[in-house]
Amino acid sequence: MIEFPWLTLTIWLPILGGVAVIVSGDKTAELTKWLALIVAVLTFLVSLPLWLNFNPHGGIQFIERTPWIPSFNVYYYLGVDGISMPLIILTTFITMFVVIAGWEVITYKPSHYMAAFLIMEGIMVGVFSALDAILFYVFWEAMLIPMFIIIGIWGGPNRVYATIKFFLYTFFGSVFMLVALIYMYFQAGSFSILDFQQLPLGMTAQVLIFIAFLLAFAVKVPMFPVHTWLPDAHVEAPTGGSVILAAIMLKIGGYGFLRFSLPITPDASASLDGLIIALSLIAIVYIGFVALVQKDMKKLIAYSSIAHMGFVTLGFFIIFAIFRRPEVTSGAVMALEGGMVQMISHGFISGALFLCVGVLYDRVHSREIADYGGVIHVMPWFGAFVVFFAMANAGLPGTSGFVGELMVILAAFRADFWYAFLAATTLILAAAFTLWMVKRVIFGEIGNDKVAKLQDINRREMLNLGVLAAAVLAIGIWPKPLVDVMEPTLQHLVEQIQVSKIPGVAAEIAQSLK
């Protein structure tokens, strides 16, 4: 029996819908926007069966496999597991709010704006569900085009510099991955990612492949020191662009580590984990301080994103330190889960924070912290939301931000006390930079006349922020459903990583056991 192709539908509905939105044009802008919203909502609805029919213990599911380039064994091969499914739902969920957020704000070619986001959505779902390396790469690179155009056309004053920097950084990171994928194709005889995961590889090959992957994913995450494109891109991007960048595109880097680096090159990951942990801790601590001194709200949130993503990579790579301590038997799965929860939660929180900045920017046309003050006196509802999301960003218990951070820190304790100690500084730093911003923007005396004239958020903005706040609270209070979905997959991943892929080593171990 052929299953209903839910994944194909989730990928191509928004892409074709986006094309339809472009065709419908700007003359009937109101209709076009409704069309875009309908497509976005429909996409979210068709992605829901992926979640509802998902069997956590079922491994890879919703598989679709058709030959694409037969002579090179390239397949149109889709499927999801506990790692990718939540990220797909996150993508379709967030995109709806991006469409709503651009409703009245975008006046220049709104149909192209909406279409770019819809096409982007389909491509991102494709990245998360591709199980063929070439298909993955196609989606991965194709993602750059709509984002390049979104930032370049609807961005701020310095948008051209930012968008070219964004494109070249990510392009630079990923082309070497392509060579690595082709190399593995000739080792494995197919481009299937699952075959790559089973492929025995010598240490030298593993290290080189690991570095190629690291370049691609580290730029995307972004990790220190290749993070510098992110603040530029965020500051110049329109609100919707920032939301998608922070909420989903950064997650693609983290997803890459889980899908490629760890299972394909476990031995190289184990021997180079110190490097990643060091970079992650630098991101957490150093970038935390950098965030503290920002004058621009978007830049501050961008740096905060880098610090939070440092948590994700830390969670993914401390597992090797846990493996190395024979007295510690658990914690690895928790570390990975922590990273994953952190990714999802950061998607909601950073998305919401960028929407909040967008609300202010639309009214005052400034992102400088110094241009505000006492916003809560004129915008009480808005103020309440900002305070809530800021608390979540700082990791307040009861919000989703807390869950992921706590899990990673707990796991870090099992690896090394100092890792945990440095990681935990984020609780102080994040509280410092977020709350200090809130203090300066939201509280205090009314800053100037412009602030005094502000209107509180309308129903559209209220809906956006309200739903996101509910999501943040839901995960914060009851993360179990999310964790349950991921746990078997991550458990399996941990078992997989612990088996060496160097030819001969496995045989040696078997020999010594005899």
Binding site: W68, I153, I164, F171, F176, L178, V179, I182, Y183, Y185
Partner: protein, 478 residues
């Protein structure tokens, strides 16, 4: 040598073209200025008929004609088809451009038709002599076409440079051919191939001849260090002529490379493979790096062509069937992309405008968003960004290189393509993010719009469904 009338069947497409060219030449004498449209119609019909003729004579396996100096095989069928399609596009794109400059005369059509005939003969050559005849027919027409605008001094200068360097290239090729003839006693590719198998690398005359012939091939492609004619010719020639030079002749040059390097000198693959590695790396390096510094868009695309030639050589040097198929795929795709890009430039160069500088295409999105999208698609495809087919072409070539263990070469290639991405992106940036510098309305004829749409959609759809074209390329080499 007896005349075999059966041979005429095999050269049917060439005959159709020859007749068309002669008819256009004669008909033009009797046409008033307002009737020149007939030339255009006749040319289009002739090209279409030649395409049909290819389909008519096409069959699996090879047909030899004229005492085995001419061959019709799947390779020639596919490449001839591509050459004709690209030239059809050329005529549609260039009509307004040439008409506005009062260059839309019978000679324009006739010269291009003869050049096309030369390309078809190159593609079907089965001996060095036939190959050389085709090559010279093509080259002489191109020299004249580059200087087609008599008023233009840069055009004349470009034609002069092209002629002098082209003659040098042809001379070197002839010199090499004479050595191969001396060593093997025959002009036919089969005879040379037999001698290569018998002597292998021990015959130094053969090896030396191979080097000179290879220089001739590299010259026609425009690979570094035999590229120096390209930037000036691209800059000086009228845009439609640049379109012609940059697309279909590359396909013919590819056929020439296959015939000479693989069919005649296949036994020397380890030798010429090494030389191609050097040429490929130099071409990718110089082409991509120097293109960044260009302000003239035609000159920039000239350097981009050089870089693409490096990629085509990557496929050839692998010496495997997959590699040859990949190179063929790349060449075909490159011809389509180049035709599209220069086609857009030619369409923009009307209403008194002449697109030369990069800044001339600023704000195209505000003037005509469909044309802008097509141009952006060509640029992304050239940069190798999926889902455009340029990515698939690069992927196949890289595959070929990695499969023979030259992973380092693949790394070099992708490293230079990052640099390449920058200048392609700059074009997209100008189109989308900058304000137009001119308020001139664009008047683009309906057929040109249809042609560019087909061209653009081909680039996109081939990216989604590359399997058919790829299997066509593979069947040629298996």
């Amino acid at each position: 040598m007896p005349f075999e009338s059966a041979s005429l069947i095999a050269v049917l497409p060439e005959l159709v073209l020859l007749i068309t060219a002669c008819v256009v030449l004669i008909a033009d004498l009797y046409l008033r200025d307002d009737q020149r449209g007939l030339n255009h119609t006749l040319t289009i019909l002739g090209l279409g008929a030649a395409l049909g003729a290819i389909g008519l004579v096409s069959e699996p396996g090879a047909t030899l004609a004229f005492s085995a100096s001419f061959v019709r095989d799947p390779l020639s069928d596919v490449l001839k088809g591509v050459i004709l399609v690209v030239n059809l596009l050329l005529f549609v794109y260039s009509r307004e451009y040439m008409r506005e400059r009062k260059l839309w005369v019978g000679e324009y059509h006739a010269l291009i038709l003869f050049a096309t005939l030369g390309m078809l003969i190159m593609v079907s050559a089965n001996s060095f002599l036939t190959l050389y005849l085709g090559l010279e027919l093509l080259a002489l027409c191109l020299y004249a076409l580059v200087a087609f605008d008599r008023e233009s001094t840069v055009g004349a200068e470009a034609a002069m440079k092209y002629f002098v360097l082209g003659a040098l290239g042809s001379g070197l090729l002839l010199y090499g051919i004479s050595m191969l003839y001396g060593a093997s006693g025959g002009f036919g590719f089969a005879e040379v191939a037999e001698q290569v198998i018998a002597d292998g690398m021990s015959n130094k005359v053969l090896t030396l001849g191979m080097v000179f012939v290879l220089i001739g091939v590299a010259f026609k492609f425009g690979a570094v260090p035999f590229h120096t004619w390209m930037p000036d010719v691209y800059q000086g020639a009228p845009t439609p002529i640049v379109l012609l030079i940059s697309s279909a002749p590359k396909v013919a040059a590819f056929a020439m490379a296959v015939r000479i390097l693989i069919q005649a000198l296949g036994g020397l693959q380890p030798d010429w493979g090494q030389i191609l590695i050097i040429l490929a790396v130099l071409s990718m390096a110089l082409g991509n790096v120097v293109a960044v510094a260009q302000t003239n868009i035609k000159r920039m695309l000239a350097y981009s062509t050089i870089a693409h030639v490096g990629f085509i050589f990557l496929g050839l040097l692998a010496g495997t069937q997959e590699g040859y198929a990949a190179a063929m795929f790349y060449t075909i795709i490159y011809a389509l992309m180049s035709a599209g890009a220069f086609g857009v430039l030619a369409m923009l160069s009307t209403q008194g405008a002449d697109v030369q500088e990069l800044t001339d295409i600023k704000g195209l999105n505000d003037r005509d968003s469909w044309l802008a999208a097509m141009m952006a698609l060509m640029m992304f495809s050239m940069a190798g960004v999926p889902p455009a087919v340029g990515f698939i072409a690069k992927l196949l070539v890289l595959d070929a290189v990695v499969s023979i263990g030259l992973t380092w070469l693949a790394v070099v290639a992708v490293a230079f393509s990052i640099i390449g991405a920058f200048y392609y992106l700059r074009v997209v940036k100008m189109i989308y993010f900058d304000q137009p510098t001119t308020e001139l309305p664009l008047a683009i004829s309906g057929d040109a719009r249809v042609a560019i749409s087909i061209n653009g959609m081909a680039i996109l759809l081939l990216g989604f469904f590359p399997a058919t074209l790829l299997s066509l390329c593979e069947n040629v080499f298996y």
